[in-house]
Protein backbone atom coordinates (compact mmCIF):
# COMPACT_ATOMS: atom_id res chain seq x y z
CA UNK A 1 0.00 0.00 0.00
CA UNK A 2 2.80 2.41 0.76
CA UNK A 3 4.25 2.32 -2.74
CA UNK A 4 0.87 3.34 -4.10
CA UNK A 5 0.38 6.10 -1.52
CA UNK A 6 3.86 7.50 -2.16
CA UNK A 7 3.21 7.50 -5.87
CA UNK A 8 -0.09 9.33 -5.44
CA UNK A 9 1.54 11.94 -3.23
CA UNK A 10 4.29 12.53 -5.76
CA UNK A 11 1.85 12.75 -8.65
CA UNK A 12 -0.40 15.23 -6.89
CA UNK A 13 2.59 17.38 -6.05
CA UNK A 14 3.84 17.41 -9.61
CA UNK A 15 0.54 17.76 -11.46
CA UNK A 16 -1.85 20.07 -9.67
CA UNK A 17 -4.66 18.87 -11.89
CA UNK A 18 -4.51 15.43 -10.27
CA UNK A 19 -6.99 15.21 -7.39
CA UNK A 20 -7.94 12.48 -4.95
CA UNK A 21 -10.72 10.17 -6.01
CA UNK A 22 -13.05 8.54 -3.51
CA UNK A 23 -12.22 4.86 -3.27
CA UNK A 24 -13.02 1.86 -1.12
CA UNK A 25 -9.75 0.00 -1.64
CA UNK A 26 -6.80 1.10 -3.77
CA UNK A 27 -5.50 4.69 -3.84
CA UNK A 28 -7.10 6.54 -6.72
CA UNK A 29 -6.69 9.87 -8.47
CA UNK A 30 -8.57 11.88 -11.05
CA UNK A 31 -6.51 13.46 -13.79
CA UNK A 32 -7.51 15.77 -16.64
CA UNK A 33 -7.08 14.30 -20.14
CA UNK A 34 -4.20 16.63 -20.93
CA UNK A 35 -2.09 15.23 -18.08
CA UNK A 36 -3.08 11.60 -18.50
CA UNK A 37 -0.15 10.29 -20.53
CA UNK A 38 2.39 12.14 -18.43
CA UNK A 39 0.90 10.75 -15.23
CA UNK A 40 0.79 7.20 -16.59
CA UNK A 41 4.35 7.48 -17.85
CA UNK A 42 5.49 8.69 -14.47
CA UNK A 43 3.70 5.84 -12.75
CA UNK A 44 5.26 3.34 -15.09
CA UNK A 45 8.81 4.61 -15.26
CA UNK A 46 9.42 6.43 -12.01
CA UNK A 47 7.24 4.61 -9.52
CA UNK A 48 7.51 1.08 -10.88
CA UNK A 49 3.88 0.43 -11.80
CA UNK A 50 4.88 -1.60 -14.78
CA UNK A 51 1.74 -3.56 -15.60
CA UNK A 52 -1.42 -2.07 -17.02
CA UNK A 53 -4.06 -4.34 -15.62
CA UNK A 54 -7.29 -2.89 -16.92
CA UNK A 55 -8.85 -0.01 -18.81
CA UNK A 56 -12.60 0.40 -18.29
CA UNK A 57 -15.09 2.92 -19.53
CA UNK A 58 -17.94 4.08 -17.31
CA UNK A 59 -21.09 5.83 -18.49
CA UNK A 60 -22.58 7.87 -15.70
CA UNK A 61 -26.01 8.56 -17.26
CA UNK A 62 -27.39 10.34 -20.27
CA UNK A 63 -27.50 13.80 -18.77
CA UNK A 64 -24.60 13.52 -16.34
CA UNK A 65 -21.57 15.74 -16.59
CA UNK A 66 -19.04 14.30 -17.08
CA UNK A 67 -20.82 11.49 -18.84
CA UNK A 68 -17.93 9.17 -19.70
CA UNK A 69 -14.98 8.29 -17.51
CA UNK A 70 -12.11 5.99 -18.38
CA UNK A 71 -10.55 4.20 -15.41
CA UNK A 72 -7.05 2.71 -15.58
CA UNK A 73 -5.72 0.21 -13.08
CA UNK A 74 -1.96 -0.22 -12.90
CA UNK A 75 -0.06 -2.79 -10.87
CA UNK A 76 3.49 -2.79 -9.60
CA UNK A 77 4.86 -6.31 -10.00
CA UNK A 78 7.57 -5.57 -7.46
CA UNK A 79 5.54 -3.88 -4.74
CA UNK A 80 2.25 -5.66 -5.54
CA UNK A 81 0.23 -2.48 -5.25
CA UNK A 82 -2.51 -1.09 -7.44
CA UNK A 83 -3.25 2.50 -8.36
CA UNK A 84 -6.49 3.62 -9.98
CA UNK A 85 -6.32 6.54 -12.41
CA UNK A 86 -9.60 8.01 -13.63
CA UNK A 87 -9.94 10.52 -16.43
CA UNK A 88 -13.20 12.22 -17.37
CA UNK A 89 -14.00 12.80 -21.00
CA UNK A 90 -14.56 16.47 -21.65
CA UNK A 91 -17.20 16.16 -24.33
CA UNK A 92 -20.14 13.78 -23.91
CA UNK A 93 -21.11 13.93 -27.57
CA UNK A 94 -17.74 12.84 -28.92
CA UNK A 95 -15.58 11.65 -26.03
CA UNK A 96 -11.84 11.54 -26.70
CA UNK A 97 -8.89 10.43 -24.62
CA UNK A 98 -5.22 10.13 -25.57
CA UNK A 99 -4.20 6.53 -26.17
CA UNK A 100 -1.85 4.70 -23.81
CA UNK A 101 -0.61 2.26 -26.46
CA UNK A 102 2.70 4.06 -26.59
CA UNK A 103 3.34 3.11 -22.97
CA UNK A 104 1.81 -0.35 -22.87
CA UNK A 105 1.08 -2.32 -26.06
CA UNK A 106 -1.47 -4.23 -24.01
CA UNK A 107 -3.65 -1.12 -23.87
CA UNK A 108 -4.45 -1.66 -27.54
CA UNK A 109 -7.24 -4.18 -27.09
CA UNK A 110 -8.61 -2.57 -23.93
CA UNK A 111 -9.03 0.74 -25.73
CA UNK A 112 -10.62 -0.93 -28.71
CA UNK A 113 -13.12 -2.47 -26.34
CA UNK A 114 -13.88 0.87 -24.68
CA UNK A 115 -14.43 2.33 -28.13
CA UNK A 116 -16.65 -0.57 -29.16
CA UNK A 117 -18.81 -0.46 -26.04
CA UNK A 118 -18.98 3.29 -25.35
CA UNK A 119 -17.83 5.15 -28.43
CA UNK A 120 -14.87 6.72 -26.64
CA UNK A 121 -12.20 7.52 -29.21
CA UNK A 122 -8.54 7.15 -28.27
CA UNK A 123 -6.36 9.57 -30.20
CA UNK A 124 -3.11 8.04 -31.33
CA UNK A 125 -4.38 4.51 -31.29
CA UNK A 126 -2.87 2.57 -34.22
CA UNK A 127 -5.98 0.66 -35.22
CA UNK A 128 -9.17 1.77 -33.51
CA UNK A 129 -11.90 -0.56 -34.68
CA UNK A 130 -14.54 -2.68 -33.07
CA UNK A 131 -13.40 -5.77 -31.25
CA UNK A 132 -16.38 -7.50 -29.64
CA UNK A 133 -19.21 -6.48 -31.93
CA UNK A 134 -18.86 -6.88 -35.67
CA UNK A 135 -17.35 -4.10 -37.77
CA UNK A 136 -20.14 -1.87 -38.92
CA UNK A 137 -22.37 -2.39 -35.90
CA UNK A 138 -24.02 1.01 -35.60
CA UNK A 139 -24.54 1.27 -31.83
CA UNK A 140 -22.48 1.47 -28.65
CA UNK A 141 -23.99 -1.23 -26.44
CA UNK A 142 -22.82 -0.27 -22.94
CA UNK A 143 -24.19 3.24 -23.10
CA UNK A 144 -27.02 3.77 -20.65
CA UNK A 145 -29.46 4.81 -23.35
CA UNK A 146 -28.98 1.53 -25.25
CA UNK A 147 -31.45 -1.12 -24.02
CA UNK A 148 -30.22 -4.50 -22.80
CA UNK A 149 -32.38 -6.32 -25.30
CA UNK A 150 -30.77 -4.46 -28.15
CA UNK A 151 -32.11 -2.57 -31.11
CA UNK A 152 -33.16 -4.31 -34.36
CA UNK A 153 -30.09 -4.26 -36.58
CA UNK A 154 -29.09 -5.81 -39.84
CA UNK A 155 -26.64 -8.67 -39.75
CA UNK A 156 -23.34 -8.18 -41.55
CA UNK A 157 -23.44 -11.19 -43.87
CA UNK A 158 -25.83 -10.39 -46.73
CA UNK A 159 -25.94 -13.92 -48.14
CA UNK A 160 -26.91 -15.43 -44.83
CA UNK A 161 -29.54 -12.76 -44.29
CA UNK A 162 -31.06 -13.51 -47.67
CA UNK A 163 -31.08 -17.21 -46.93
CA UNK A 164 -32.49 -17.09 -43.42
CA UNK A 165 -34.49 -13.86 -43.55
CA UNK A 166 -33.50 -12.94 -40.04
CA UNK A 167 -31.67 -10.11 -38.38
CA UNK A 168 -30.59 -8.99 -34.97
CA UNK A 169 -33.88 -8.50 -33.16
CA UNK A 170 -34.60 -6.92 -29.83
CA UNK A 171 -34.46 -9.90 -27.46
CA UNK A 172 -37.91 -10.76 -26.07
CA UNK A 173 -37.92 -9.74 -22.44
CA UNK A 174 -41.52 -10.57 -21.46
CA UNK A 175 -41.56 -7.43 -19.40
CA UNK A 176 -38.55 -8.32 -17.21
CA UNK A 177 -35.93 -8.42 -15.73
CA UNK A 178 -37.62 -7.43 -12.52
CA UNK A 179 -35.02 -5.83 -10.34
CA UNK A 180 -34.80 -2.80 -8.18
CA UNK A 181 -32.67 -0.12 -9.72
CA UNK A 182 -29.20 0.91 -8.70
CA UNK A 183 -29.00 3.41 -5.87
CA UNK A 184 -29.96 3.48 -2.22
CA UNK A 185 -33.32 1.98 -1.36
CA UNK A 186 -36.19 4.36 -1.00
CA UNK A 187 -38.65 2.10 0.75
CA UNK A 188 -41.64 3.82 -0.75
CA UNK A 189 -40.70 3.23 -4.36
CA UNK A 190 -38.31 0.34 -3.99
CA UNK A 191 -40.51 -2.35 -5.50
CA UNK A 192 -38.67 -4.22 -8.23
CA UNK A 193 -40.00 -3.14 -11.54
CA UNK A 194 -39.51 -4.23 -15.10
CA UNK A 195 -36.59 -2.46 -16.62
CA UNK A 196 -37.46 -0.48 -19.71
CA UNK A 197 -38.92 -3.43 -21.58
CA UNK A 198 -42.66 -2.83 -21.81
CA UNK A 199 -43.37 -5.41 -24.45
CA UNK A 200 -43.23 -9.17 -24.84
CA UNK A 201 -43.05 -11.82 -27.53
CA UNK A 202 -46.78 -11.41 -28.05
CA UNK A 203 -47.29 -7.72 -27.49
CA UNK A 204 -45.21 -5.51 -29.74
CA UNK A 205 -43.24 -2.57 -28.50
CA UNK A 206 -45.46 0.49 -28.14
CA UNK A 207 -44.79 2.96 -30.88
CA UNK A 208 -42.95 0.44 -33.05
Amino acid sequence: MSAALDAIRALKARWPGATDRATLDHPAINVPPSDLLAVLRSLKEEHGFDMLVDVSGVDWAVGASPRFTVVYHVLSTAAHDYVRVAVDCADAASPEIPSATGLWPGADWHEREAYDMFGIRFTGHPDLRRILMWDGYPHFPLRKDFPLSGVPTELPDAEVVAETKTGAIAAPMAGGPFVASSGEINMAEAEPRAKDESWTERRPKPGA
Partner: protein
Protein backbone atom coordinates in the same frame (compact mmCIF):
# COMPACT_ATOMS: atom_id res chain seq x y z
CA UNK B 1 16.43 -25.71 -28.18
CA UNK B 2 15.31 -22.41 -29.62
CA UNK B 3 13.89 -22.57 -33.09
CA UNK B 4 14.69 -19.63 -35.25
CA UNK B 5 11.98 -18.44 -37.55
CA UNK B 6 12.60 -15.47 -39.75
CA UNK B 7 9.77 -13.63 -41.38
CA UNK B 8 10.35 -13.97 -45.09
CA UNK B 9 10.42 -10.81 -47.14
CA UNK B 10 8.19 -11.88 -49.98
CA UNK B 11 8.62 -8.74 -52.01
CA UNK B 12 12.38 -8.96 -51.83
CA UNK B 13 12.32 -12.60 -52.85
CA UNK B 14 10.13 -11.83 -55.81
CA UNK B 15 12.31 -8.93 -56.82
CA UNK B 16 15.36 -11.17 -56.87
CA UNK B 17 13.81 -13.11 -59.69
CA UNK B 18 13.23 -16.28 -57.69
CA UNK B 19 10.08 -18.37 -58.02
CA UNK B 20 7.32 -15.81 -57.74
CA UNK B 21 5.19 -16.20 -54.66
CA UNK B 22 2.20 -14.50 -53.23
CA UNK B 23 1.03 -14.19 -49.68
CA UNK B 24 -2.06 -16.13 -48.83
CA UNK B 25 -4.66 -14.81 -46.47
CA UNK B 26 -6.58 -17.48 -44.60
CA UNK B 27 -8.98 -17.39 -41.75
CA UNK B 28 -8.26 -19.93 -39.06
CA UNK B 29 -11.55 -20.21 -37.24
CA UNK B 30 -14.00 -19.29 -35.85
CA UNK B 31 -15.01 -22.93 -36.11
CA UNK B 32 -11.74 -24.79 -35.88
CA UNK B 33 -10.69 -27.66 -33.67
CA UNK B 34 -7.55 -25.96 -32.45
CA UNK B 35 -8.86 -22.55 -31.66
CA UNK B 36 -10.36 -23.66 -28.34
CA UNK B 37 -13.70 -22.14 -28.95
CA UNK B 38 -14.63 -19.38 -31.27
CA UNK B 39 -11.41 -17.53 -31.93
CA UNK B 40 -10.72 -16.42 -35.44
CA UNK B 41 -7.13 -15.87 -36.50
CA UNK B 42 -6.82 -13.96 -39.71
CA UNK B 43 -3.45 -15.21 -40.90
CA UNK B 44 -1.35 -13.96 -43.74
CA UNK B 45 0.99 -16.68 -44.87
CA UNK B 46 4.02 -16.85 -47.04
CA UNK B 47 4.00 -20.56 -47.74
CA UNK B 48 3.86 -22.09 -44.31
CA UNK B 49 5.25 -19.14 -42.37
CA UNK B 50 2.99 -16.56 -40.77
CA UNK B 51 3.76 -12.99 -41.78
CA UNK B 52 0.83 -11.40 -40.03
CA UNK B 53 -1.66 -12.65 -37.49
CA UNK B 54 -4.76 -10.72 -36.55
CA UNK B 55 -7.00 -12.33 -33.94
CA UNK B 56 -10.68 -11.52 -34.34
CA UNK B 57 -12.61 -12.08 -31.13
CA UNK B 58 -16.14 -11.30 -30.10
CA UNK B 59 -17.80 -14.40 -31.50
CA UNK B 60 -18.93 -15.26 -27.99
CA UNK B 61 -19.70 -11.76 -26.78
CA UNK B 62 -22.91 -12.23 -24.88
CA UNK B 63 -23.26 -8.87 -23.21
CA UNK B 64 -22.41 -9.96 -19.65
CA UNK B 65 -21.42 -6.50 -18.49
CA UNK B 66 -24.67 -5.00 -19.69
CA UNK B 67 -26.60 -7.85 -18.13
CA UNK B 68 -24.85 -7.15 -14.81
CA UNK B 69 -26.29 -3.65 -14.77
CA UNK B 70 -29.74 -5.21 -14.84
CA UNK B 71 -29.32 -7.96 -12.26
CA UNK B 72 -28.83 -7.97 -8.53
CA UNK B 73 -25.44 -9.09 -7.29
CA UNK B 74 -26.66 -12.59 -6.48
CA UNK B 75 -28.57 -12.93 -9.74
CA UNK B 76 -25.34 -12.35 -11.62
CA UNK B 77 -23.52 -15.32 -10.06
CA UNK B 78 -24.62 -17.82 -12.77
CA UNK B 79 -23.18 -15.51 -15.41
CA UNK B 80 -19.81 -15.59 -13.70
CA UNK B 81 -19.82 -19.40 -13.96
CA UNK B 82 -19.93 -19.13 -17.68
CA UNK B 83 -16.96 -16.80 -17.99
CA UNK B 84 -14.16 -19.30 -17.60
CA UNK B 85 -16.38 -22.31 -17.91
CA UNK B 86 -13.56 -24.70 -17.11
CA UNK B 87 -13.20 -23.44 -13.54
CA UNK B 88 -16.56 -21.95 -12.60
CA UNK B 89 -16.01 -22.17 -8.85
CA UNK B 90 -12.95 -19.96 -9.10
CA UNK B 91 -14.89 -17.30 -11.00
CA UNK B 92 -17.69 -17.46 -8.45
CA UNK B 93 -15.19 -16.85 -5.69
CA UNK B 94 -13.46 -13.94 -7.43
CA UNK B 95 -16.79 -12.20 -8.02
CA UNK B 96 -18.05 -12.77 -4.50
CA UNK B 97 -14.88 -11.41 -2.93
CA UNK B 98 -14.89 -8.36 -5.22
CA UNK B 99 -18.45 -7.45 -4.27
CA UNK B 100 -17.83 -8.19 -0.61
CA UNK B 101 -15.02 -5.64 -0.70
CA UNK B 102 -17.61 -2.96 -1.39
CA UNK B 103 -18.98 -3.54 2.07
CA UNK B 104 -15.57 -4.50 3.49
CA UNK B 105 -17.24 -7.73 4.51
CA UNK B 106 -15.09 -10.54 5.91
CA UNK B 107 -16.56 -13.99 5.60
CA UNK B 108 -15.97 -16.50 8.38
CA UNK B 109 -12.94 -18.86 8.21
CA UNK B 110 -14.98 -21.92 7.26
CA UNK B 111 -16.37 -20.12 4.24
CA UNK B 112 -12.89 -19.04 3.25
CA UNK B 113 -11.61 -22.59 3.55
CA UNK B 114 -14.48 -23.93 1.44
CA UNK B 115 -13.80 -21.31 -1.20
CA UNK B 116 -10.09 -22.15 -1.26
CA UNK B 117 -10.69 -25.87 -1.56
CA UNK B 118 -13.20 -25.47 -4.38
CA UNK B 119 -11.02 -22.93 -6.18
CA UNK B 120 -8.03 -25.24 -6.09
CA UNK B 121 -10.14 -28.14 -7.32
CA UNK B 122 -11.30 -25.86 -10.11
CA UNK B 123 -7.68 -25.08 -10.87
CA UNK B 124 -6.90 -28.78 -11.21
CA UNK B 125 -9.95 -29.22 -13.42
CA UNK B 126 -9.01 -26.30 -15.66
CA UNK B 127 -5.38 -27.29 -16.01
CA UNK B 128 -6.36 -30.87 -16.82
CA UNK B 129 -8.59 -29.59 -19.57
CA UNK B 130 -5.87 -27.28 -20.82
CA UNK B 131 -3.47 -30.17 -20.83
CA UNK B 132 -5.91 -32.39 -22.65
CA UNK B 133 -6.67 -29.80 -25.28
CA UNK B 134 -2.99 -29.00 -25.72
CA UNK B 135 -2.31 -32.69 -26.13
CA UNK B 136 -4.99 -33.10 -28.74
CA UNK B 137 -3.77 -30.06 -30.63
CA UNK B 138 -0.33 -31.52 -31.01
CA UNK B 139 -1.69 -34.97 -31.70
CA UNK B 140 -1.87 -36.82 -28.37
CA UNK B 141 -5.35 -38.30 -27.93
CA UNK B 142 -4.54 -40.40 -24.87
CA UNK B 143 -3.75 -37.41 -22.69
CA UNK B 144 -7.17 -35.95 -23.43
CA UNK B 145 -9.01 -39.12 -22.47
CA UNK B 146 -6.97 -39.71 -19.31
CA UNK B 147 -7.41 -36.14 -18.12
CA UNK B 148 -11.12 -36.27 -18.79
CA UNK B 149 -11.38 -39.35 -16.60
CA UNK B 150 -9.85 -37.39 -13.73
CA UNK B 151 -12.12 -34.46 -14.46
CA UNK B 152 -15.14 -36.71 -14.23
CA UNK B 153 -14.09 -37.60 -10.69
CA UNK B 154 -13.90 -33.90 -9.90
CA UNK B 155 -17.30 -33.38 -11.46
CA UNK B 156 -18.72 -36.00 -9.15
CA UNK B 157 -17.37 -34.10 -6.14
CA UNK B 158 -18.68 -30.77 -7.46
CA UNK B 159 -22.05 -32.30 -8.08
CA UNK B 160 -22.25 -33.60 -4.55
CA UNK B 161 -21.37 -30.19 -3.16
CA UNK B 162 -23.24 -27.82 -5.42
CA UNK B 163 -25.76 -29.82 -7.43
CA UNK B 164 -24.19 -29.25 -10.83
CA UNK B 165 -21.25 -30.87 -12.58
CA UNK B 166 -19.86 -27.56 -13.60
CA UNK B 167 -21.49 -24.14 -13.88
CA UNK B 168 -22.02 -24.42 -10.18
CA UNK B 169 -23.20 -20.92 -9.08
CA UNK B 170 -22.04 -21.85 -5.63
CA UNK B 171 -20.96 -18.64 -3.93
CA UNK B 172 -23.27 -15.93 -2.67
CA UNK B 173 -22.32 -12.43 -1.65
CA UNK B 174 -21.35 -12.96 1.97
CA UNK B 175 -20.82 -16.70 1.92
CA UNK B 176 -21.48 -19.83 -0.03
CA UNK B 177 -24.80 -21.38 -0.92
CA UNK B 178 -24.64 -24.35 1.44
CA UNK B 179 -22.30 -26.10 3.78
CA UNK B 180 -20.22 -29.08 2.69
CA UNK B 181 -22.09 -32.39 2.97
CA UNK B 182 -20.83 -34.79 5.64
CA UNK B 183 -17.91 -36.85 4.43
CA UNK B 184 -17.25 -34.64 1.41
CA UNK B 185 -13.85 -33.52 2.60
CA UNK B 186 -12.83 -37.16 3.08
CA UNK B 187 -13.80 -37.86 -0.49
CA UNK B 188 -11.81 -34.86 -1.62
CA UNK B 189 -8.77 -36.24 0.16
CA UNK B 190 -9.35 -39.64 -1.37
CA UNK B 191 -9.45 -37.98 -4.78
CA UNK B 192 -6.19 -36.16 -4.10
CA UNK B 193 -4.51 -39.37 -2.99
CA UNK B 194 -5.36 -41.22 -6.16
CA UNK B 195 -4.90 -38.15 -8.37
CA UNK B 196 -1.19 -37.57 -7.82
CA UNK B 197 -0.02 -40.90 -9.27
CA UNK B 198 -2.48 -40.47 -12.14
CA UNK B 199 -1.12 -37.00 -12.78
CA UNK B 200 2.40 -38.35 -12.94
CA UNK B 201 1.25 -40.90 -15.46
CA UNK B 202 -0.48 -38.29 -17.59
CA UNK B 203 2.47 -35.94 -17.49
CA UNK B 204 4.89 -38.74 -18.26
CA UNK B 205 3.11 -39.19 -21.57
CA UNK B 206 4.19 -35.72 -22.63
CA UNK B 207 7.05 -34.33 -20.60
CA UNK B 208 9.88 -36.28 -22.15
CA UNK B 209 8.04 -37.22 -25.27
CA UNK B 210 10.30 -36.41 -28.19
CA UNK B 211 7.47 -35.39 -30.46
CA UNK B 212 5.96 -33.12 -27.84
CA UNK B 213 9.22 -31.41 -26.98
CA UNK B 214 10.05 -30.90 -30.63
CA UNK B 215 6.71 -29.26 -31.13
CA UNK B 216 6.78 -27.04 -28.08
CA UNK B 217 10.32 -26.28 -26.95
CA UNK B 218 11.43 -22.92 -28.29
CA UNK B 219 8.01 -22.24 -29.77
CA UNK B 220 6.08 -19.12 -28.87
CA UNK B 221 8.82 -17.55 -26.79
CA UNK B 222 7.59 -14.58 -24.77
CA UNK B 223 10.08 -12.50 -22.83
CA UNK B 224 9.29 -11.31 -19.32
CA UNK B 225 9.16 -7.66 -20.37
CA UNK B 226 6.76 -8.41 -23.20
CA UNK B 227 4.59 -10.43 -20.90
CA UNK B 228 4.31 -7.54 -18.45
CA UNK B 229 3.81 -4.99 -21.22
CA UNK B 230 0.88 -6.90 -22.67
CA UNK B 231 -0.72 -7.57 -19.28
CA UNK B 232 -0.26 -11.34 -19.32
CA UNK B 233 -1.03 -13.05 -16.04
CA UNK B 234 -1.16 -16.55 -14.63
CA UNK B 235 0.88 -19.45 -15.97
CA UNK B 236 1.64 -17.53 -19.16
CA UNK B 237 3.37 -14.80 -17.18
CA UNK B 238 5.07 -17.21 -14.81
CA UNK B 239 6.28 -19.32 -17.72
CA UNK B 240 8.19 -16.25 -18.90
CA UNK B 241 10.01 -15.92 -15.62
CA UNK B 242 7.96 -13.30 -13.76
CA UNK B 243 7.08 -14.72 -10.32
CA UNK B 244 3.78 -12.90 -9.84
CA UNK B 245 1.10 -15.01 -8.15
CA UNK B 246 -1.72 -13.13 -6.47
CA UNK B 247 -2.29 -15.93 -3.98
CA UNK B 248 1.17 -15.28 -2.55
CA UNK B 249 1.66 -11.59 -3.31
CA UNK B 250 -1.77 -10.26 -2.38
CA UNK B 251 -3.32 -13.11 -0.41
CA UNK B 252 -7.09 -13.32 -0.16
CA UNK B 253 -9.57 -15.72 1.35
CA UNK B 254 -7.04 -17.17 3.77
CA UNK B 255 -4.37 -18.22 1.29
CA UNK B 256 -1.68 -16.82 3.58
CA UNK B 257 -2.09 -19.73 5.97
CA UNK B 258 -1.21 -22.38 3.41
CA UNK B 259 2.27 -23.35 2.32
CA UNK B 260 2.78 -23.85 -1.35
CA UNK B 261 5.32 -23.10 -4.05
CA UNK B 262 4.81 -21.09 -7.18
CA UNK B 263 6.41 -22.63 -10.27
CA UNK B 264 8.18 -20.15 -12.51
CA UNK B 265 9.55 -20.95 -15.95
CA UNK B 266 12.78 -19.78 -17.51
CA UNK B 267 12.53 -19.81 -21.29
CA UNK B 268 9.03 -18.45 -21.79
CA UNK B 269 8.25 -21.01 -24.49
CA UNK B 270 5.26 -23.29 -24.86
CA UNK B 271 7.05 -26.15 -23.11
CA UNK B 272 7.69 -24.03 -20.02
CA UNK B 273 4.05 -23.01 -19.82
CA UNK B 274 3.08 -26.66 -19.98
CA UNK B 275 5.51 -27.52 -17.18
CA UNK B 276 4.24 -24.63 -15.04
CA UNK B 277 0.67 -25.88 -15.32
CA UNK B 278 1.66 -29.42 -14.45
CA UNK B 279 3.49 -28.29 -11.35
CA UNK B 280 0.64 -25.99 -10.34
CA UNK B 281 -1.64 -29.00 -10.18
CA UNK B 282 0.70 -30.70 -7.70
CA UNK B 283 0.77 -27.53 -5.59
CA UNK B 284 -3.00 -27.32 -5.70
CA UNK B 285 -3.21 -30.78 -4.19
CA UNK B 286 -0.87 -29.59 -1.46
CA UNK B 287 -3.12 -26.62 -0.70
CA UNK B 288 -6.24 -28.76 -0.67
CA UNK B 289 -4.69 -31.19 1.80
CA UNK B 290 -3.69 -28.38 4.15
CA UNK B 291 -7.09 -26.72 3.89
CA UNK B 292 -8.90 -29.94 4.69
CA UNK B 293 -6.55 -30.65 7.60
CA UNK B 294 -7.20 -27.20 9.06
CA UNK B 295 -10.88 -27.16 8.12
CA UNK B 296 -12.46 -24.83 10.69
CA UNK B 297 -15.90 -25.21 12.14
CA UNK B 298 -18.47 -22.46 12.23
CA UNK B 299 -20.78 -20.91 9.74
CA UNK B 300 -20.35 -20.88 6.00
CA UNK B 301 -21.80 -17.40 5.57
CA UNK B 302 -21.46 -14.05 7.31
CA UNK B 303 -24.33 -14.25 9.78
CA UNK B 304 -24.32 -10.66 10.92
CA UNK B 305 -24.45 -9.12 7.45
CA UNK B 306 -28.21 -8.86 7.69
CA UNK B 307 -28.77 -6.80 4.56
CA UNK B 308 -26.43 -8.84 2.41
CA UNK B 309 -26.77 -12.55 2.91
CA UNK B 310 -30.02 -14.45 3.06
CA UNK B 311 -30.62 -16.49 6.22
CA UNK B 312 -30.97 -20.29 6.08
CA UNK B 313 -34.26 -21.58 4.74
CA UNK B 314 -35.48 -23.22 7.92
CA UNK B 315 -35.45 -19.88 9.71
CA UNK B 316 -37.04 -18.13 6.74
CA UNK B 317 -40.00 -20.46 6.82
CA UNK B 318 -40.60 -20.13 10.53
CA UNK B 319 -39.54 -16.67 11.68
CA UNK B 320 -40.94 -13.30 10.55
CA UNK B 321 -37.74 -11.35 10.77
CA UNK B 322 -35.80 -13.78 8.64
CA UNK B 323 -38.68 -13.94 6.18
CA UNK B 324 -38.55 -10.20 5.65
CA UNK B 325 -34.77 -10.29 5.40
CA UNK B 326 -34.93 -13.02 2.78
CA UNK B 327 -37.60 -11.14 0.83
CA UNK B 328 -35.61 -7.91 0.77
CA UNK B 329 -32.41 -9.61 -0.31
CA UNK B 330 -34.03 -11.65 -3.04
CA UNK B 331 -36.04 -8.80 -4.52
CA UNK B 332 -33.82 -5.81 -3.88
CA UNK B 333 -30.50 -7.60 -3.88
CA UNK B 334 -27.75 -7.48 -1.25
CA UNK B 335 -27.49 -3.84 -0.22
CA UNK B 336 -23.98 -2.61 -0.95
CA UNK B 337 -22.64 0.86 -0.13
CA UNK B 338 -21.72 3.26 -2.90
CA UNK B 339 -18.13 3.31 -4.14
CA UNK B 340 -15.66 1.63 -6.47
CA UNK B 341 -13.58 -1.46 -5.90
CA UNK B 342 -11.27 -3.53 -8.03
CA UNK B 343 -10.30 -7.04 -7.04
CA UNK B 344 -8.33 -9.65 -8.95
CA UNK B 345 -8.09 -13.28 -8.03
CA UNK B 346 -5.50 -15.76 -9.23
CA UNK B 347 -7.68 -17.87 -11.47
CA UNK B 348 -6.31 -20.83 -13.40
CA UNK B 349 -6.15 -18.81 -16.61
CA UNK B 350 -4.63 -15.73 -15.02
CA UNK B 351 -5.84 -12.81 -12.96
CA UNK B 352 -9.61 -12.46 -13.22
CA UNK B 353 -10.56 -9.00 -12.04
CA UNK B 354 -13.88 -7.34 -11.27
CA UNK B 355 -14.17 -3.56 -11.22
CA UNK B 356 -17.46 -2.84 -9.46
CA UNK B 357 -18.91 0.65 -9.48
CA UNK B 358 -21.81 0.89 -7.07
CA UNK B 359 -24.18 3.74 -6.44
CA UNK B 360 -25.62 1.90 -3.46
CA UNK B 361 -28.44 -0.60 -3.55
CA UNK B 362 -28.53 -4.17 -4.79
CA UNK B 363 -27.68 -3.63 -8.45
CA UNK B 364 -24.27 -2.48 -9.66
CA UNK B 365 -23.97 0.63 -11.79
CA UNK B 366 -21.08 -0.79 -13.80
CA UNK B 367 -19.35 -4.14 -13.60
CA UNK B 368 -16.20 -4.46 -15.66
CA UNK B 369 -14.77 -7.94 -15.95
CA UNK B 370 -11.03 -7.92 -16.46
CA UNK B 371 -10.51 -11.12 -18.30
CA UNK B 372 -7.14 -12.89 -18.26
CA UNK B 373 -7.75 -14.58 -21.60
CA UNK B 374 -8.48 -11.22 -23.24
CA UNK B 375 -5.10 -9.89 -22.18
CA UNK B 376 -3.30 -13.15 -22.90
CA UNK B 377 -4.59 -13.20 -26.45
CA UNK B 378 -3.54 -9.62 -27.13
CA UNK B 379 0.07 -10.77 -27.50
CA UNK B 380 -0.84 -13.22 -30.29
CA UNK B 381 -0.05 -10.87 -33.21
CA UNK B 382 3.47 -10.56 -31.88
CA UNK B 383 4.09 -14.17 -30.90
CA UNK B 384 2.80 -15.76 -34.09
CA UNK B 385 5.01 -13.71 -36.39
CA UNK B 386 7.50 -15.92 -38.11
CA UNK B 387 6.01 -19.13 -36.78
CA UNK B 388 4.67 -21.86 -39.00
CA UNK B 389 0.99 -22.71 -39.07
CA UNK B 390 1.45 -25.84 -36.99
CA UNK B 391 3.40 -23.80 -34.46
CA UNK B 392 0.46 -21.44 -34.21
CA UNK B 393 -1.61 -24.39 -33.09
CA UNK B 394 0.97 -25.26 -30.43
CA UNK B 395 1.10 -21.64 -29.28
CA UNK B 396 -2.66 -21.43 -28.93
CA UNK B 397 -2.69 -24.66 -26.97
CA UNK B 398 0.01 -23.42 -24.63
CA UNK B 399 -1.83 -20.20 -23.89
CA UNK B 400 -4.82 -22.12 -22.51
CA UNK B 401 -7.37 -19.39 -23.05
CA UNK B 402 -11.11 -19.64 -23.05
CA UNK B 403 -13.34 -17.56 -25.26
CA UNK B 404 -16.20 -17.35 -22.79
CA UNK B 405 -13.92 -15.29 -20.61
CA UNK B 406 -12.27 -13.36 -23.39
CA UNK B 407 -15.46 -12.14 -24.99
CA UNK B 408 -17.75 -12.15 -21.97
Amino acid sequence: MAVEHTIPDTAAKNAQGEFETEKMSISMGPSHPSTHGVLRLQLELDGEVVTKADPVIGYLHRGDEKIAENMTYNQFVPYTDRLDYLAPLANNMAYAIAVERLAKLEVPPRCQAIRVITAEMARISSHLMGLGAFGIDVGAWTVFLYSFTEREKLYKLFEELTGARFTTSYTRIGGVARDVPPGWTDRVLAFCDQFLPQLEEILSLLTRNRIFTDRTAGIGVISGEDAIAYGLTGPNLRGSGVPLDLRKDRPYSGYEQYEFDVPVGTHGDAYDRYLVRGEEMRQSVRIIRQAVAKFPGGKWYAEDAKRIIAPPKDKVLTSMEELIQNFMIVTEGPQMPAGEVYFEAENPKGALGFFVVSKGGGVPWRLKIRSPSFCNLSILPKVCLGAMVSDVVAILGSFDFVMGECDR
